[in-house]
């Protein structure tokens, strides 16, 4: 997950504006009662059986983990992985309140509802305008006719560079059909409210003198009885952000294996083009799913990474010829001289209007393998959860791992400044490791951090090591001493996307 930009930076782009209150992904089932996404106390991982009862749990307000006896690190990792699965199930539960084990491939999920999550560009509006949580999405004019024709029952994704280029501009990912993988970033109401409260949706607002001394510190979720719980409205999980990756599904037969959405995708602006930006209607299949969640004792956030199990083989499977294709981003049997592994595509990387979402080089396909394999324990847990998901597409998704700050005392440390800063008063100045010993040290999603997989310090993907470097656009006034200025953005790159003038 690191890639430096992952959730945030990364994708930021894409999204679009559209929407509002909701697009309700595809149309299907009528939406009875609104299924809001409140959080629940996470059941204890060491005593809770993995069965169908977990399918109706809410989003965990915070993790519950137990070091147990014996292999402490493994016991704690299991607790966080259990938390991640509950989070995945809660976010992807049907928006209409039905059960996920009855979901169809295109059943809209809770996170896809604007009442639960907003796309980044619906917050970082042109001119840095403020907005309200209930505001309707502004549909780009290029997509408006199609949107109206579909009665708004379609997802709208407005592409920017982060929608097709991976973190640190390391390149796009091209599937086996020659299409770009597409990325999107979203935030929940807790993050939205904090941003609006401090005028952080505006570049000018971030650069204001009032914000020069602000330590960006998003709300943190807490379970009942935990310190900080009283500070949170009932059911509020604190800050949650999501980054997803999509695969274009042109062949109807493919669609039965993915969670899908009907989408209008607005091509990224190309200043060299004089033609109108194409807005193409596509069926998109979910291939990657990141969640970042800040909690009171994990103030460096908890980082969850899922992906479709048919994305890529593990490198060791390739070496032992144990691939079980076909894969979304790997061709079995292709000679390495013809299909070099984990290489970026040839340039130019930007989508071209005339090609739509197809890569310009019609013969190129990404040949990706997973460099760091899943652990056996994670695989075991995946199987247990997949087994309770019936015959739905959700059984095709797997947890890669969960990254969490393993130094407990460090992770819950509060800023002891005088006067005390507002809650949650996260201490961002810890040294030498403000990330509090991330476990596992490295974590990469093959679709979201494709080109930074591995185990090289500061080069390979680590959610916290990357996001810990995120900053805002705050500036130091001339009369403020350098040591008094504190530019960080609490592990999110989202604030970098605040605008001061129309750029899209």
């Amino acid at each position: 997950m690191r890639t430096k930009h992952s959730l945030a930076v990364g994708m930021i782009g894409i999204f679009a504006i559209a929407g509002l209150l909701g697009w309700t992904a595809s149309a299907q089932a009528p939406l009875p009662a609104p299924a809001n996404l409140a959080c629940d106390d996470d059941p204890p991982p060491d005593t809770t059986p993995i069965d169908a009862a977990l399918l109706i749990k809410g989003l965990p307000c915070a993790e519950k983990v137990n070091p147990g006896s014996g292999d402490t690190l493994a016991n704690l990792q299991r607790g966080f992985d259990f938390y991640s699965w509950l989070t995945f199930l809660a976010l992807n539960a049907p928006a209409d309140g039905s059960h996920i084990d009855q979901a169809k491939p295109n059943t809209p999920t809770k996170w896809e509802q604007a009442r639960n999550f907003k796309q980044l560009l619906d917050v970082m509006l042109p001119d840095g305008r403020a907005s309200r949580w209930g505001d309707k999405k502004t549909i780009p004019p290029e997509c408006l006719a199609q949107y109206n024709k579909l009665n708004g029952k379609v997802m709208v994704i407005e592409m920017i560079e982060e929608s097709f280029n991976e973190p640190f501009k390391t390149g796009p990912l091209i599937d086996q059909q020659g299409n770009y993988a597409i990325f999107d970033i979203l935030m929940n109401k807790s993050m939205f409210d904090y941003i609006q409260k401090h005028n952080l949706q505006s570049k000018v607002g971030q650069q204001s003198k009032e914000n020069a001394s602000l330590k960006v510190d998003f709300p943190a979720g807490a379970n009942k009885g935990q310190e900080g719980h009283a500070n949170m409205p009932p059911g509020d999980p604190g800050a949650v952000m999501i980054k997803v990756s999509w695969k274009v599904l042109d062949a109807p037969a493919e669609r039965q294996n993915f969670h899908t959405v009907d989408a209008l995708v607005l091509m990224p602006l190309d200043p060299k083009e004089t033609a109108k930006r194409p807005c193409v209607r596509k069926t998109l299949g979910l291939v990657g799913f990141h969640v970042g969640h800040k909690t009171v004792v994990r103030r460096q956030w908890i980082w969850t990474s899922f992906e479709h199990k048919k994305n890529v083989p593990e490198q060791q499977e390739v070496e032992s010829k144990q691939e079980r294709g076909p894969y979304n981003f790997y061709k079995v049997g292709c000679d390495p001289t013809q299909c070099p592994v984990n290489q970026t595509p040839p340039t130019p990387w930007d989508p071209k209007y005339k090609s739509g979402l197809k890569f310009f080089d019609s013969k190129f396909r990404s040949q990706i393998t997973r460099v760091v394999p899943l652990t056996d324990k994670t695989k075991d847990m995946n199987k247990q959860f997949q087994d309770i998901l019936g015959n739905t597409v959700w059984k095709n998704y797997m947890l890669l791992s969960t990254q969490w700050p393993s130094d407990f005392n460090c992770a819950k440390q509060k800023d002891a400044s005088t006067p005390p800063p507002p809650e949650p008063a996260t201490d961002f100045k810890k040294e030498p490791d403000m990330n509090c010993a991330p476990a596992p040290t490295f974590l990469a999603n093959s679709t979201l951090e494709t080109y930074s997989q591995g185990t090289d310090p500061l080069a390979s993907s680590s959610c916290m090591a990357c996001h810990g470097n995120a900053v805002s656009q705050q500036v130091r006034p001339p009369d403020m001493k350098p040591e008094g200025f504190f530019n960080q953005s609490d592990f999110t790159f989202m604030l970098e996307k605040a605008q001061s003038k129309r750029t899209r």
């Binding site: 130094d407 040294e431 030498p432 403000m434 040290t441 900053v471 040591e483 960080q488």
Partner: protein, 252 residues
């Protein structure tokens, strides 16, 4: 592990003066600082040469012993070398230690776990000397002056005729272990031993070394002790360079 051990020998009077001055570079300064620490830490022979070579890098007990050894040699608390719950356990807690029950003691669970790389490296290169050192720790496990006893046992001059080759091997492995912790680099014990004589002839002679791993490079203690970080790697907050470093106690 576990054989009988001889009584402590007196500390060799010139034990910390057996390192002739060499060329002064940034590397040699750091090396020298750590080497002096190691040099000050050698001293007694063990009756039983470590012949079994049975150190198990996956053994919790052996890891606890290695952390205690490393702490005694480096002066860094074991909880810092092995973060994540390092704990010495008594048979009947909360009864005070000693005695320590190694089988119940916890070597920490930090995800970085550089200590395992160091133990593995020492075991691969010098298994007999490593076992000697862990036996030394085991012998002094419940001593009230454990660290001092370990140091005293490894502190003697190479020319001390009462010492056997195994004693000398252990002394120089102890140095290598100190250098690993502080510099993240492996200095072959035989190289360190040769250096002692070579520097008398050629003060510019620099010891050969290899960085143990990228992980070890990021975890070296020398720069942390200096409230700094290695070039190219830092987990500190963006903009930390605009402020004075946090107190040294935050680092060590």
């Amino acid at each position: 592990m576990g054989g009988s051990l001889p009584d402590k020998h007196p500390i060799a009077p010139n034990a910390i003066e057996d390192e002739p001055a060499g060329a002064v570079t940034r590397r040699t300064v750091l090396t020298g600082a750590a080497a002096v620490t190691a040099a000050a830490s050698v001293g007694t022979a063990l009756d039983t040469p470590a012949g079994a070579q049975s150190v198990d890098v996956n053994s919790q007990e052996h890891m606890v012993l290695f952390v205690l050894l490393s702490s005694a040699l480096t002066g860094i608390p074991p909880e810092k070398l092995a973060p994540g719950g390092f704990k010495l356990q008594s048979p009947n807690p909360p009864a005070p230690t000693p005695p320590i029950d190694l089988s119940k003691s916890i070597p920490g669970f930090d995800p970085v776990d550089v200590k395992r790389e160091y133990l593995t490296r020492a075991n691969e290169r010098c298994p007999a000397a490593l076992e000697y050192l862990l036996q030394l720790v085991r012998k002094n496990l419940n001593a009230s002056n454990r660290d001092e006893a370990i140091i005293a046992a490894l502190q003697f001059d190479d020319d001390d005729k009462t010492k056997r080759p195994a004693d000398v091997d252990a002394k120089y492995l102890a140095r290598s272990i100190v250098l690993m912790w502080y510099l993240g680099a492996w200095y072959e014990p035989t190289e360190l031993q040769a250096l002692r004589k070579d520097l008398l002839k050629d003060p510019t002679r620099s010891p050969r070394f290899e960085v143990v791993s990228p992980k070890a490079y990021t975890q070296a203690w020398a720069l942390r002790v200096a409230q700094a970080h290695p070039m190219g790697f830092s987990e500190m907050q963006f903009g930390y360079w605009t402020r004075p470093p946090n107190p040294r106690t935050d680092f060590i």
